[in-house]
């Protein structure tokens, strides 16, 4: 490990220009260093560049990249640095637009895409993004920086990023370590942390990312769409008395591995108006006794696939056979014939693509319609899904003909 760290240090020492435009050096063109780019300072920067580039003037002034950054700060940030608070509560100041970003989490990458952030400015992504060519085709071929659990620091530094995106609260120990190491190795790299999958913070994260990327209009549109769907669900659920809320058994890909209090899935079930029959479990994702499920007799059973031993379905796979097999398997579990969910045909399979990540609101919409079909008769989760894919992700992907996300 020491040798690896030493090798990284040597790479850092050898790489030119490792400190980026977003560094503490200030706003490009801010001649007096007062962190305010005036009309006069911008004009001087432009003229100095034009003189060198076109008029045979002396070199040494602002180059084209500096002028473009100065123009951006002047026009989009009113001549001042942009200060934002990321999802960890950290205050981060930018003195130039982001032009070379490394993204460790696909959730942030997907959100950036919704905002129309230029994919050319993403210089490296994590390995799991590269394993999803059907969903992230334009990022294939980008440099691979590993994952938050196995980061390739050498690669990160080699692509000369001005910003690195990490999770805020997920895998926090791993992300904290990456954050600290980057701060030590290359203080000029801004570390920005967002989760991209938590209902309680996602709308705010969208708006902050919009500010960072100067895509505020797009961010407002996405946040508005997101909050309108979630708000519709929230308002309807609020009108349902607690004692009338449907009981739900949730299971991830592993049999009898459910979700307990404090888990993200528990939160999503509640937002959709469900009552998790294992909400009293203190562990986030406990493995429960099969008999306990039968005893607690859920009205609805939700099975999530798409990961682990059930890595099928989603955007890259539109064969429903695997989903049907899982469905029948649940129906046929010993003793389950007495469970209300089986007796009333209320077993549902959902893919992790639309239950985790930025698309969690689509999954919550599906849950709401399954829990209360009459109350949510006007909510069409597949239409919400298609609009998200077409309008915000900019993909020509018809979800009625491609992929499989829910069953039946």
């Amino acid at each position: 490990m020491r040798y690896a760290a030493f090798a990284v240090f040597i790479c850092l020492a050898c790489l030119p220009g490792i400190v980026s435009a977003a560094e503490t050096a200030g706003i490009p063109g801010d001649a007096d260093g007062d962190r305010f780019l005036t009309d006069g300072e911008l004009a001087a920067t432009i003229l100095g560049y034009l003189d060198t580039a076109y008029m045979g003037g002396p070199s040494g002034g602002a180059d084209q990249a500096d002028v473009r950054d100065a123009a951006f700060v002047y026009a989009r940030w009113e001549g001042r640095p942009l200060t934002i608070t990321d999802a960890t509560g950290a205050v981060v100041t930018l003195t130039a637009p982001l032009r070379r970003v490394v993204v460790f989490n696909a959730e942030t990458l997907e959100t950036l895409r919704s905002l129309g952030f230029d994919p050319e400015r993403v210089v490296a992504v994590d390995k799991y993004t590269l394993e999803r060519p059907e969903f992230f085709p334009e990022y294939q071929g980008k440099e691979n920086i590993g994952s938050v659990w196995s980061p390739d620091y050498e690669k990160v530094l080699s692509v000369r990023p001005d910003a690195v995106f990490l999770y805020a609260t997920s895998s926090s120990a791993a992300c904290d370590e990456i954050h600290q190491k980057l701060a030590a190795m290359a203080p000029g790299i801004r570390v920005l942390r967002f989760d991209g999958f938590r209902p309680e913070t996602y709308a705010d994260e969208i708006l902050t990312l919009g500010k960072i990327t100067a895509r505020e209009k797009e961010a407002e549109e996405l946040a508005s769409f997101y909050t309108s769907v979630m708000g519709t669900i929230e308002d309807t659920v609020a009108s349902i008395p607690e004692e009338e809320r449907v009981t739900v058994y949730f299971e991830n890909w592993k049999e009898y591995k459910t979700c307990g209090m404090g888990s993200g899935y528990q939160d999503k079930i509640e937002r959709a108006g469900g009552r998790n029959i294992f909400a009293d479990e203190e562990t986030d994702y406990p493995v429960v006794d099969p008999e306990a499920v039968i005893m607690r007799n859920p009205a609805v059973a939700i099975k999530m696939v798409g990961t682990g031993g059930m890595d099928f379905g989603g955007y890259g796979d539109h064969a429903s056979a695997s989903f049907a097999e899982v469905f029948r398997g649940m129906e046929d579990r010993p003793g389950w014939s007495t469970v209300s969910a089986v007796q009333n045909g209320r077993i549902h399979i959902i893919h992790s693509d639309i239950f985790g990540g930025p698309q969690h609101f689509i999954g919550i919409a599906y849950l709401a319609t399954w829990f209360y079909p009459e109350r949510f008769a006007d909510l069409d989760p597949s239409a919400v899904h298609q609009r998200y894919i077409s309008e915000f992700q900019g993909r020509t992907y018809d979800i009625t003909e491609n992929g499989i996300f829910v069953y039946p």
Binding site: D39, G40, L42, A43, A44, I46, L47, Y49, L50, D51, T52, A53, Y54, M55, G56, G57, P58, S59, D63, V67, R68, A70, A71, F72, Y74, A75
Partner: protein
């Protein structure tokens, strides 16, 4: 190889490598007067569209002098046959050009969009104060020498090549490009 050929080759290279102005940005030039008497001034007007923050560089006929602009002094810079302009949202920019006796040449120009990361060439407008592009003072035609009214004009492509040659010449003298 003569300068004309070099200029043509350079123009071809520019056509391949330099992005053509996007639909959202245009800069056109009109000149105020028909045949400009030697020693008099003319007004050159640039109509700018879609250039929120950018730069313009006009290459001026040899010997001509910029005697005034519609912008403040800190927004323009002149040097040896060039006029550089820092554009910050203006839609119309004008400058007066003094035409010395015996002057021959053409005005050509380029723009850069620093927010859109694009570059382009200034094109000829379809009307000045007279409403039409005056033949004796066209943006891609030579200034008329009062002593030689039969002096031939240049094609637009030669004007661009002329700019390119001038730029190449300046660049070889130590400029960034």
């Amino acid at each position: 190889m003569d300068l004309k050929t070099i200029g043509m080759l350079f123009l071809c290279i520019c056509a391949i490598t330099v992005p053509v102005a996007g639909a959202a940005v245009s800069v056109t030039r009109t000149v105020s007067d028909d045949a400009v008497p030697p020693g008099a001034d003319c007004t050159v007007t640039l109509v700018v569209s879609g250039l929120e923050v950018g730069g313009i560089v006009e290459t001026l006929p040899p010997g001509s002098v910029v005697t005034g602009t519609s912008l403040s002094a800190d927004r323009v810079q002149t040097a040896d046959g060039y006029l550089a302009i820092a554009v910050m949202g203006e839609e119309t920019i004008s400058y007066t050009l003094g035409v010395p006796e015996g002057a021959r040449g053409e005005i050509t120009g380029v723009w850069e969009d620093f927010l859109g990361d694009r570059t382009g060439v200034i094109t000829e407008g379809t009307g000045g104060e007279t409403g039409t592009a005056p033949p004796a003072m066209q943006t891609s035609a030579p200034l008329q020498d009062a002593g030689n009214p039969e002096a031939p004009g240049f094609l637009s492509v030669m004007a661009l090549a002329g700019f390119a040659i001038a730029a190449l010449g300046r660049a070889s003298g130590g400029g960034r490009r």
